[in-house]
Point group: D2
Chain length 362, copies 4
């Protein structure tokens, strides 16, 4: 293999000359260098390098989902690449501690030289959001109006073209919706499943009535149960489900939602193990992104208080508002609402049993 390969020098391979000359503090243009501007630059550059790596993995994951048939070997790759993304996200979340070693005053020494640059102009981060499936109409109001503000033309048109591509959410939805075991005559299984969930919700209702002496609190809790009931029944009723989607309470298609519920319920079955790794990986990616936004918002507040950021908006409030709402795979996150303990599960459809059977010899 190693034939005719030119010898390589570490610094050349990593292009260190280029890389290490890309830190140009602006404070030196207007006076003495502010010591901490270097940290500010490097912290953001490291984030951008990790974003590049995450995008590299997500593109490879999308390629797998674009395959006409995504077999276990493909799913293994998706799960493997997702694990890497999660590991990088852990690091990015912990990295907030590094920028927090800068005091607000140290930041103020060079903040004015950065105006009106803003983290909202990170194209790779926006690309990541778009690629995951965070389209304009799913964003919080402020974000909708401003997502493309303050970008130069080239960046804006690049992102607008990206929004035309199918997102990871779309691809995952399609993959789930076409799961073979969902196309079979499984009516009786789901009917039994519904009864079992109803029974569990009845027990929860009894529990609530027994535990809440306060009338207002009781009413709230009962409304919660009723909402769970309605949502659950809607899973099996195309019209009701469509209403849930229109109200923004679910995002997955009905078929995909049922498939995800089924896989989550039977995750320890070898046949579903990889699919579940993928579902759980996507859920955790969302969760870690949420924690990143949250920590980031707290860091901005410590750094600026309620002062506005260099881009001319109070980043803290924005970040806090987006923390919860900008989640893409929220449906997976709440899947546990309808899960049953194994002892309460109905018998599996025969066709599915046969499918699972293949995996049980060794």
């Amino acid at each position: 293999m190693a034939k005719n390969i030119a010898p390589v020098y570490y610094g050349d391979y990593l292009k260190l000359d280029t890389l290490l000359s890309a830190q140009q503090p602006h404070s030196t243009r207007y006076g003495a260098e502010a010591h901490d501007e270097m940290l500010f630059i490097i912290v953001h550059q490291v984030y951008e390098l990790w974003f590049k790596q995450v995008l590299h993995e997500l593109r490879a994951i999308q390629r797998e989902f674009h395959q006409p048939k995504l077999d276990d070997k493909g799913l293994y790759l998706v799960a493997h690449r997702l694990r890497r993304v999660l590991t990088i996200q852990d690091l990015m979340n912990d990295q907030v501690a590094v920028i927090e070693t800068m005091t607000p005053q140290e930041f103020l020494e060079f903040r004015d030289y950065l105006i009106p640059a803003s983290g909202f102009q990170s194209i790779q981060f926006k690309e990541l959001e778009i690629m995951l499936g965070l389209h304009r109409d799913k964003r919080v109001a402020f974000d909708q109006s401003s997502f493309f503000n303050r970008l130069n033309d080239q960046d804006r048109s690049y992102l607008e073209q990206l929004e035309q591509q199918p997102s990871l959410f779309d691809l995952v939805d399609k993959w789930l919706a076409r799961m073979p075991f969902m196309n079979i005559e499984s009516f009786s299984f789901w009917r039994l499943y519904q009864s079992a969930v109803d029974k569990a919700l009845d027990e929860d209702e009894a529990l609530i009535r027994g535990n809440n002496s306060d009338a207002a609190q009781l009413a709230t809790e009962l409304a919660g149960i009723q909402s769970n009931r309605d949502n659950f029944h809607a899973l099996f009723d195309a019209d009701a489900y469509q209403q849930l989607q229109q109200d923004g309470r679910v995002r997955l298609s009905q078929q995909a939602m049922l498939a995800a519920l089924f896989i989550t319920q039977y995750r320890e079955e070898p046949a579903f193990n990889l699919a579940w790794q993928v579902i759980t990986g996507l859920t955790e990616m969302d969760e870690k992104l949420t924690i990143w936004r949250y920590k980031h918002a707290m860091m901005v507040q410590r750094m600026l208080g309620t002062k506005i950021g260099t881009g001319g908006s109070s980043g803290h409030d924005y970040l806090r508002r987006t923390t919860e709402q900008n989640r893409v795979f929220k449906d997976f996150f709440s899947m546990a609402t309808y899960l049953l303990p194994k002892t309460a599960l109905p018998q599996l459809p025969e066709q599915v049993q046969r499918l699972l059977g293949f995996y049980h010899r060794d």
Copy 2:
């Protein structure tokens, strides 16, 4: 020193017989042991042990603040103990990952046996909240009504008696309010400081006007600046400040707020270094508690969806609502709003300079 000391055996010293027999899964009472109930018990017991340690440190910290005169040696101890609390909190936050290795179905195998027990019944956690200064009237609505619900009489009266003690917040407020450099004739310093802050806010306003083409967005941002202006001027006006307190926008007393601002502004002065370590330690304690609540809420959602918890309420929503609001030292957290870069600082009052001077020989 080591005279007449009875020899000690590891297991006896740590009372391992007692400790390791305190895990009694309830699933065994009604059938086979649910494998994961052991994890559930141990995870909660470890939290309770850490709570005990944190309370041990906070009590020691309170003792220092009760000293008639809290000198640098005392402050060193406070900062030292706070650092330990923060280190334990980091661990507690990471510990959420351990309970997340349990799947929702594994939890459902024994969840019904725990009814109506609930984490809301952790007396040590409530004690921690009370000791910090999270009194009933500062809590979110639901929490107010339910804080003492579901406790047995002994626990309830123990906590009610605790609410009568001065909290850490109260003690910190008093310590700050009596800072000697705040009692001096410092009128001219603060007047200059006000002008400098006003100038900075003016610049921010100009920046906002330049950067926001959208009228609605501009209005929101300008309102934010005006609010900052009002709050800042209220710091120097007893009546206006009282109004801020009544509106729940600040909690510290006026004197304490000014002292905290002064210390934060001059934190690198050796004379203020320990005081600032204390302020920043308290801020981080709040922040880490917030992250704990947040991660906890996400874990509950993954485990139960929107299902109710064993205590008969939807813990997730509650936890999420308390995440932001139940902060005690929020005033420290937003202190950066009024900080100035060093270059914009007015001359320090002479008396303060003299005080700082003591620290500059070595």
Copy 3:
């Protein structure tokens, strides 16, 4: 399900009365309480609780390996439980930071009261080591002589009886050795594999000769290559392999070693995915235990310097010496020595291909 279940109170369920009264500082027996003894006790008690949980998981894992036939459902459980163990280990490793918040002097305030208690008397930790497969004759010299020293009779005989049970290492070895694809006529595959590895080693040798101008260094490196060659060829020669075992250079049986190599080489094959998760989980368990010992040794040195510990021996040196040597699954750890890039792999035996084929429909 939830019929006739007695209502549960949080504090009773967790036996908090018992748990929270098990911290009895000895310093109070001889004078004023040393503030930091509480931390010392609680840190060790938390470790013991985690040890209990880890043992709980390892026992469940051993039960799976004792099954006459360990199918994918069983392997899933093993991998799932191992992941939990790893998550707990991460927490235990980070917990060292908590004890490091105690200064050496703070420890000296109560150290003399603990004599001659020692962490070497933790029965659960020794049980963990024995259960993994760290038998007396595999330990470093000092450890061999002292493993059972300083224990009371009951503890000693408990551990000696445990040493008679098959360890996790033994069970894993047997499971690997009976892998079906190893019993087939696979002679030609392994012969081709050998040629491919030989070729790779030849290329490494050429590389070494090209890169080392220093004669002594070159000799060392070439000896390393030769050793790799010898070890690799021994994998296919029963007598040579036995010699490696006797020299302590490998521990797995020959059949198990080949199976592990095969699985590691083809880990992305769905048929091997769970088996590989198990192998990699065991490797990481060892690695994290190693890091725990290492961090622990450094903490002891910071606390005591080269002073002796409360048990009367210099714990730091001991811990450091055991860090490397007390590894159980070292063979997995070095498996990469004989791995080939996919492009260099020989064709798989037809029987194995057929087996893998089952997993490729979906």
Copy 4:
């Protein structure tokens, strides 16, 4: 302040065009891109960015130590910058988990294209080591001969010139040696201190004799005590101390060692608080560097087994050998050997008490 400042765009400020085009996988030169080469490049580039930041901080720290008089304000800065370095080191240590998401086979897909590049060619890492004070003659043997091997001329002469500069170790040693309280007539204090340490060592010896039934073990432990005695007495005897230095058992100068011991013993004194933060920060920097080397060595072994690296040497062994030995501030690390509990401390010299007194008013 914000006058005439050119508006800034995020991507321009961070030079993202340059930064994000510096990842050029070599696998594409010889065939299809190996998916994981991007990760390999980015992981190393991120390390290099952090190295640049750490060097930036260390240079600023050195500037403080070069000041004719390092007052508390300067020490505050040193401690502040060290804390940042430690936070970055934590991140770098956790980053090993990211590269570990690459399997050995995935690495083999492009490893041959990197020959003979090697991490040993990282000039910034070598600069970091030199700047700390890891000079050639302190390195392990292999390292001595090869430190400058495989570098191009420019890099080699850059590093050789760096070795002529005073290292951080040298500067810290000088700073400690000139501590004012060490130049005073403190003879009686140290004589009393010696008696107290002798007494403590006597008690340890008695303890050892009581706890070791095994003769060989007893002899080893007693030798350890004797060595501690000899080392301790050497602290007060210029000739004996010089011998310790020549034997490589201590590195600090005698005066610096005594100052460090004094500060560590009285660290909670406000006058010493910052100095102790500096000492402990340097110790932790060493410790975290050690953990980085250790984790790195384990990662290399998992990736390559005992195979040689791309640079043509078995990196794992080298890294492991250097883990322990390449520590710079080892003397601080073992300082606890001679610490006394507060109750055993002799009275402080009056002159020192007066110095400390300044810090006790507030």
